[in-house]
Amino acid sequence: MTAELVDYAEAVTAWEPVIGLETHVELGTRTKMFCGCPTAFGAEPNTQTCPVCLGLPGALPVLNGQAVRSTVLIGLALHCDIAAWCRFARKNYFYPDMPKNFQISQYDEPICTDGYLDVDVEGEIVRVEIERVHMEEDTGKSLHVGGATGRIHGATHSLVDYNRAGIPLVEIVTRPVEAGPNAPAVAKAYVEQLAELLRTLDVSDVRLEQGSLRCDVNTSLRRPGDAYGTRTETKNVNSYRSVERAVRFEVSRQAGLLEQGTRIRQETRHFHEDTGTTSPGRSKEEATDYRYFPEPDLVPIAFPVDVVEELRASLPETPAVRRARLRDAYGWSDLELEEMTNAGVLDLVVSTVELGAAAPAARALWQNEVAKAANEQGVEASSLPVSPTDVARLLALVADGTLTAALSRQALAGVLAGEGDVDAVVAARGLAVVSDDGALRTAVYDVIAAQPDTAAKVRGGNMGAVGPLIGAVMKATGGKADAAKVRSLLVEVLT
């Protein structure tokens, strides 16, 4: 069953990767899907449970209306059709982390179907078709005890916390994506941009590290023109980069097997962060019989058309549309937009520009100064004590000559150090440019007197010699002089 890995670049010359993504997103509702227990992350184990989410005998589910609204909103943002009528179904299987031994999910009647997400993959738009978006409930969390690494195998027993059981989940399932050699990048870009969209919709905090977004990646290979091959399902891939690596590894692994004539087993696989490899999990060949049937304890949903339209009208601008708009309005390149997004300053820069700052200057200051400081401190730029108002004011002071670039950096440092707003820092630190003509002239004459040889060179037409004189004047004024003004004064006096 094992074979040599085939180098990725080589694999994709002979084989076409086809990928599919199933993304589970925990909604950011206050309460669980079917009961009033809170959903706060990190609470003491089993303190957020009740008869319903513990599956105690006699308890019944009641659907969280906000969870349905959020799901419809996601469906609308993904250009899906919203079902006029749909139901929940029970997915029956036994597992200790699932209190009722069935999961309330949706089966053949998902609430949202047939949508798409246009994904920007290095400047090229790839349309990823969405098959369905449906609602379901999360399971509890198990701690495996006694095994070597906290893994399930070798454990003596397990400890279960049901705080997470019943938290609303939305599952977003793509159709197969014929992504070509770029499949790993497409997979990563899809998940990143889906997460960005969900954040924009404010329906989930989308924290991969806390498991509020979890991704299963399906990968198969085929010869060009052939039908789809057998796919594997790599479970719980928990970072964007891992999505890319998991696809890349599966392509290499499957190509190796196929080239030696071995059939691909339909199975779930686990991704290992440390090695970037996958290993087999439960085989899917003896397909689990989930015995789906309509959930009799919940009534059908006929989501009101007027509420759908209200939600549609409330949809915020999607990240892709916004990027296009900003590109056109402010002249930023795709790369710059991506950098600002990654640095977490895009919204801040936009606000700064809206306060009147020039787009290039605002981008540069946030990206090069603030984001750098945030990075050094290991925090988000948005959590630093500097606001778009501060940055706009700094840039305005530079533009009107009150501050030089160097002085503006000092002013920013003061603001970051919590010394107050820009004007307060400039006043307290005495940072304003020496704009008093008389004072500047005095400094110029002093420097000419102190360096007669250099001054003579300038008088003789050697304009290169003006530099050292400017430097001397700047030094004499403690850097508070406007260098351009000093130059013009020197030239005026000496020629």
């Binding site: 003491e44 009740c50 597992y95 279960v160 779930t268 949903i301």
Partner: protein
Amino acid sequence: MPEPITRDEVAHLARLARLECTDAELDTFAGQLEVILGSVARVAEVVADDIPPTSHSVPLTNVFREDVVRPSLDRDEVLAAAPAAEDGRFEVPRMLDEAP
């Protein structure tokens, strides 16, 4: 009319339903299931394709709950009723495989 139900088939169902059964029980159930299914096969006599199924006998839709927190149970009371507990968690026997 369905094919006769074999002991193996009942054993498969029992596994799916997490019911350990003796061979004698499997044989008894196989026989009884066959009789019951023989009788229920009559339902097919009357149902035409155009008849919609009824999953709920009350004509309700859109029963939603406000997203408002309600008190959870006292953990000690819940864990006291559990077969075993440790560290505020339910203790369960080791799991031999991940969830399907």
